[in-house]
Amino acid sequence: MQPSPFTGLTRLGRGAWPVLSVPPRLFISVLALLALLVAKPALSADDYLSELDAEVKKVEARKIDGESGVSTVEAPAEVSGDKNSERAGVSRDAFEAMLRKRYLGTFGFYKKLPERSRQEIFAEYLEGAPISEVRKKIIDRLLQR
């Protein structure tokens, strides 16, 4: 009997094309592994955020001489006042904790507001404004209104 010219290969039935004797699953796994090795790894969301964090450190404050046209405007300074003012027995920390617990998104917006707006909102809360109004005010302030 003549040896098969397809060393390492086998035949699948009569007239079939020669195929690798390696099990298909293993073959596909090897191919996938090779593809992974060759391809550049895609950036995950976390990687992208890490890259963004690293990149932002390269940005310096923009300073331009005022005489030639002020180009960077400092935001208004914080309104002076007692940040930990307590009225009606509710501390600002407690108010913020409540906001964080019940309205996480709104809390996120609240944290972005300048200190004077936060004070204003807290004061309104202490005066008894319903939470819907407090949330609306936070959004209004966020929208520069």
């Binding site: 963004l52 940005v59 180009s71 960077t72 959004i139």
Partner: protein, 243 residues
């Protein structure tokens, strides 16, 4: 003789410098022939930022050159690769002139929102006046995430209550006259948003826009300012450092 010539030369120099200073001073006079306006016939504009009016104008120093991060041409790619002109074929792309117009119309009357879609650490370094910070990380959340729900509320979208069977049927057949309705959301009062980030090599605002589209925000209410902070600074336009 030598001394008097020297003195005359110094005097001429001083006079020349004085004349030059005057010329420079005249340059920044609004309406002066050398004044650099935002666009023709619009020397500057005002927007409200964090409760106060900010004058948006261009740097008047004729020798001013952009330096620092936004003057760089090289960025690591990926992830900071040049972006396509638009993140979606349905979303319009605008430049500075259209942004000025937006600031003076929709942003001013409250029907529009200017969104700085960068992460807070970027926003804190300086932003375009009138912007609010809605990071792409928030705008990429799913529709049932509290952060996305609040972002949609800020942008004027309303959750629909119980929808009648007849309305459902009409909408299902495409016979609704309101193109801004989804199954659970009504975007008919949603604001026009202009979304921006660091510029043409920044992927943050495209991600934010795709996130908004994903939850059904109407594409015709979204505009992409592709130039972003890089082009804004390249034109020497006013930026603000948030509180």
């Amino acid at each position: 003789m030598l001394n008097s010539m020297k003195n005359a030369a110094i005097a001429a120099c001083v006079l020349g410098i004085a004349a030059g200073s005057q010329a420079v001073a005249e340059e920044v006079v609004v309406g002066g022939s050398d004044f650099i306006p935002l666009v023709k016939d619009k020397p500057y504009l005002h927007v409200i930022h964090e409760g106060r009016s900010i004058k948006v104008q261009r740097v008047q120093d004729p020798d001013y050159e952009l330096k620092g991060y936004f003057a760089k041409t090289a960025r690591k790619c990926p992830p900071f690769c040049i972006q396509p002109i638009a993140p979606s074929v349905d979303v319009g792309v605008i430049g500075e002139v259209e942004l000025f117009e937006f600031m003076e119309t929709e942003l001013r009357d409250g029907t529009g929102v200017l969104v700085d879609a960068r992460t807070p650490s970027w926003h804190k370094k300086g932003t375009i006046p009138g912007s609010i910070n809605l990071p792409f990380t928030q705008l990429s959340k799913s529709i049932d995430d509290p952060e996305m729900l609040d972002a949609l509320e800020v942008l004027g979208a309303k959750e629909r209550g119980e929808v009648g069977m007849w309305d459902k049927l009409m909408e299902g057949w495409g016979w609704s006259d309101n193109p801004h309705l989804t199954e659970n959301w009504d975007f008919s009062q949603a604001k026009s948003v202009v979304v921006w980030c660091n510029g043409p090599a920044c992927g943050q605002s495209p991600r934010a826009i795709r996130g908004l589209l994903e939850v059904g925000y109407p594409a015709d209410k979204i505009k992409y300012y592709r130039g972003g902070m890089q082009m804004w600074q390249m034109w020497g336009l006013t930026t603000v450092v948030p509180d």
